[in-house]
Symmetry: C2
Subunit: 128 residues, 2 copies
DNA sequence: CTGTATCCTACACGATACTG
DNA sequence: CAGTATCGTGTAGGATACAG
């Protein structure tokens, strides 16, 4: 997505800002403190360098993440959550809880077989 | 996206479920009660019938929305938020507040001109 | 009114190679 | 180590036409 219509509501803004296949994971990884590029690459398995760079740049442009470079013989860069980024992560928590509570249900619903035997409702109880 | 890797965290699940250009708006529109297809089309300006149908089907498959058809001479269908859908909307609220609070800031940052943060934290200062 | 069926395009993302 | 450059791809979404 990124930059669609004039935002229709606040959620739109937030979604737009975290839109990108890996951004939430990146934000998540940074909650435990600053990380180097290579660390993020490890913490976000599957992402290519190009895309990781790209999404970090966007997060930086939106001031959710700050970037510090160290002019050392061995290039080093550290990414850190800004206050804004931290506040976003906090706003994301309820959504995370919702997802955790309903993950099993969603996965069952989407699994190719037997979507009908779903009974657990929002109780966090995985398939019986 | 829809169905990427095994979910890395709860937020991933939730994001996946609301992923789609119009889903949040649809969910939003339904908070005020059941809506007919045509109403939704009006309430979500810009969406095509194909895509609206598509996203409604996905929301339905994820049990966030329920669909009632009325076999009348004039076809009529109503979409309603399920309990799960309502709980998702609640989990979305903090994100919406975050977005509302920071919308102006984000828009300024992204506007082609005059980002007020001409000088901000740039290169790191090694051990002061 | 409420959809389907096609066709088409844009763009995010992936893979790989190369550089300071 | 931390990127950039390039090329290729999948697929969500848009436009339009048709149908029950």
């Amino acid at each position: 997505m990124r930059r669609k219509r004039p935002y229709a509501c606040g959620v739109d803004v937030a979604i737009d800002v975290i839109d990108g296949k890996w951004k939430v994971l990146i934000l998540w990884a940074l909650t435990t403190g600053s990380k180097r590029f290579g660390e993020l690459k490890r913490l976000v398995p599957g992402v290519s360098e190009k895309v990781l760079t790209q999404q970090l740049r966007e997060l930086e442009a939106d001031e959710l993440v700050s970037r510090r470079t160290f002019a050392e013989v061995v290039p080093r860069v550290e990414y850190t959550l800004t206050a804004l980024g931290e506040s976003l992560n906090e706003a994301l928590e309820p959504l995370g809880e919702w997802g955790s509570r309903n993950q099993a249900r969603i996965e069952t619903l989407r699994s190719p077989l037997s979507p009908e035997r779903v009974n657990a409702v929002d109780s966090g109880t995985p398939g019986a």
